[in-house]
């Protein structure tokens, strides 16, 4: 298949497990902690066409972030493969990196540096040309309704919403073909949330393929062309928001519990168990 016809994302039997260490210790060997495997992704087959926004909905621990991290070359899968525009995320990760950018729930900035210094750093490591950079940055910020004077303030002085917008502006600046957004509106006040959602809508006009992980069902329905419903590392349902109807009811129907209950359950599990290195 020629490069231009490759889907934006393609995975086959993509699997990921993490080793977890529990609070208890082995009865016969008190120096050893009990360990178990957490399956973050069950074998996953997925194809995302170019230029569309795909929402991934699921409670904490459903595998959304692991999927994003595998696609972002930050986590290596155990089995199966994933390709971004035809490039394998493991064997050809350097090519993959040229196509992608990611906006995460954490700001991922040097907080003492100004927005400008952070953006210049991002531009440089993404190989964006220097010429006219300030102008381009200002125009991206203006597009997303961020005042120009905000550029020279340290990031820690910016509100959470502003930081998130700068993060999206940063990703736009590097002109990704695939944008991985991991809960970009989590923790924001309603106004900032609306503004960030507006930015995501804006990106659709640029034909950027977007994978949007979210807890917010209304957000997924409003912004996405296609929605994947995930739980415990499996895709429970896949379709357009129209096809899937009321997502909350569907989640309950397929998983036997409500989304909020699933979140509470996942948080309790996280407190009991911790992902550990081998």
């Amino acid at each position: 298949m020629s490069q231009a016809k490759q889907p934006a994302v393609e995975t086959s039997r993509l699997t990921k497990r993490f080793r977890r260490e529990g609070g208890g210790r082995h009865a016969g060997m008190p120096w050893r902690r009990r360990r178990s495997d957490l399956v973050a992704l069950h074998p996953l087959d997925l194809t995302l066409e170019r230029g569309i926004t795909t929402g991934v909905i699921g409670p904490n621990g459903s595998g959304k972030s692991t999927l994003v991290r595998v696609l972002a070359t930050l986590v290596l899968p155990d089995n199966g493969w994933a390709r971004i525009f035809g490039h394998d995320v493991v064997t050809d990760s350097f090519s993959v990196k040229r196509y992608i950018n990611r906006v995460s729930v954490e700001a991922a900035f040097f907080k003492e540096l100004s927005a400008w210094e952070n953006l210049v750093y991002a531009s440089r490591i993404y190989g964006v040309a220097d010429r006219g950079l300030r102008g381009r940055v200002e125009s991206v910020l203006a597009r997303f309704g961020l005042p120009r004077d905000l550029l020279d303030r340290p990031l820690r002085h910016l509100s959470r919403g502003q930081q998130r917008k700068v993060a999206i502006a940063r990703s736009v600046l590097t002109t990704p073909s695939l944008l991985l957004m991991d809960e970009p509106t989590t923790g924001l006040d309603p106004r900032s949330k609306r503004e960030v959602q507006h930015m995501v809508t804006d990106l659709r006009q640029d034909s950027v393929t977007t994978l949007l992980c979210t807890h917010d069902l209304d957000e997924a329905e409003a912004l996405c062309d296609r929605v994947l419903l995930m739980d415990h590392g499996r895709v429970l349902a896949d379709g357009t928001p129209g096809q899937l109807g009321r997502l909350e009811d569907l989640f309950f129907e397929l998983s036997g519990r409500g989304l909020e209950d699933a979140d509470t359950e996942a948080e309790a599990e996280t407190q009991d168990m911790e992902v550990q290195p081998a």
Partner: protein, 276 residues
């Protein structure tokens, strides 16, 4: 295509240097504190040497002893800055939560590490120069007999194994987000003990002497002392330059290979995400 790739990498290289410079600028107060700490350490050693005479420990050239100790203190100030700047680059990114962003960028790890190391070397030289300029008049340091060509050569050749060692140590926070940082400090402590910063390695017990022989800092210090105090030429320090060159050939590729392995391991185990 090749030119485009090189240009991108050059952008990235400058980006890492600029980022480190900006961070130093923003945390300037901490840098002043560390500068004062370096200065005080060097001055303490200088005054310790000056005070040896009043302790009744005669029978040796006090002036030489002071010079010996001061050269050690100054070099340690430089080497420790470089080492810390390189090894803490990963730790720092963990604190800030930017490590995933940096590792996701389309820039070669070699470029990334070269950028960090280049900044560390330049910054280390600048800060040590400030300390030297203050210490020289205070202790009437006379370096008129020094062989500067030899000193600069030893310093330049030492850079490579030091960079390799720094990269190797910077792997520790990748291996263990919780304990990696402390382990890098421990490595630094071992280097201080074993490399003959303030004494000839011959006074060390056997096992520590064995460590001294594999520490590039030992040869750097011996070569620099020979050049600055003894005024020796290049031929006289060949026995220090040769091990340094050999160590460069081993430590730099080894550092890069181990860093690559540690990055893959962190990605396999999902360790990049954790802030430690």
């Amino acid at each position: 295509m090749m030119m485009l790739t090189l240009r991108r990498e050059a952008h990235g290289f400058v980006g890492f240097i600029e980022r480190q410079k900006n961070l130093i600028k923003r945390y300037w107060l901490w840098e002043v504190v560390w500068l004062i700490y370096s200065l005080v350490s060097v001055l303490s050693i200088g005054y310790l040497a000056a005070g040896l005479g009043s302790l009744g420990t005669g029978g040796f050239d006090l002036r030489q002893a002071q010079l010996y100790l001061l050269v050690g203190a100054l070099l340690w100030a430089y080497l420790s800055i470089v080492f810390i700047e390189i090894t803490f680059s990963v730790t720092w990114e963990r604190w800030e939560g930017t490590i995933e962003y940096t590792f996701m960028a389309p820039v070669r790890r070699l470029t990334h590490l070269l950028g960090i190391c280049t900044f560390a070397l330049l910054y280390g030289l600048a800060r040590t120069l400030v300390v030297l300029l203050i210490a020289m008049p205070l202790f009437h340091l006379d370096l008129s007999h020094a062989n500067l060509v030899t000193a600069i050569t030893v310093m330049a050749v030492s850079t490579f194994p030091l960079v390799g060692l720094g990269i190797l140590a910077s792997v520790l926070p990748l291996l263990s987000p919780e304990r990696g940082e402390q382990m890098t400090v421990a490595v630094q402590g071992v280097l201080l003990l074993a490399s003959g910063v303030y004494y000839p390695v011959s006074v060390l017990p056997g096992p520590v002497q064995a460590l001294a022989h594999v520490s590039p800092l030992t040869y750097t210090l011996e070569g620099m002392r020979a050049a600055l105090i003894g005024g020796r030429g290049l031929a006289a320090v060949a026995s220090d330059l040769l091990p340094l060159l050999l160590m460069s050939l081993v430590l730099v590729p080894l550092g890069l290979a181990v860093f690559g392995w540690a990055e893959r391991r962190a990605k396999r185990l999902g360790l990049l995400k954790r802030s430690g």
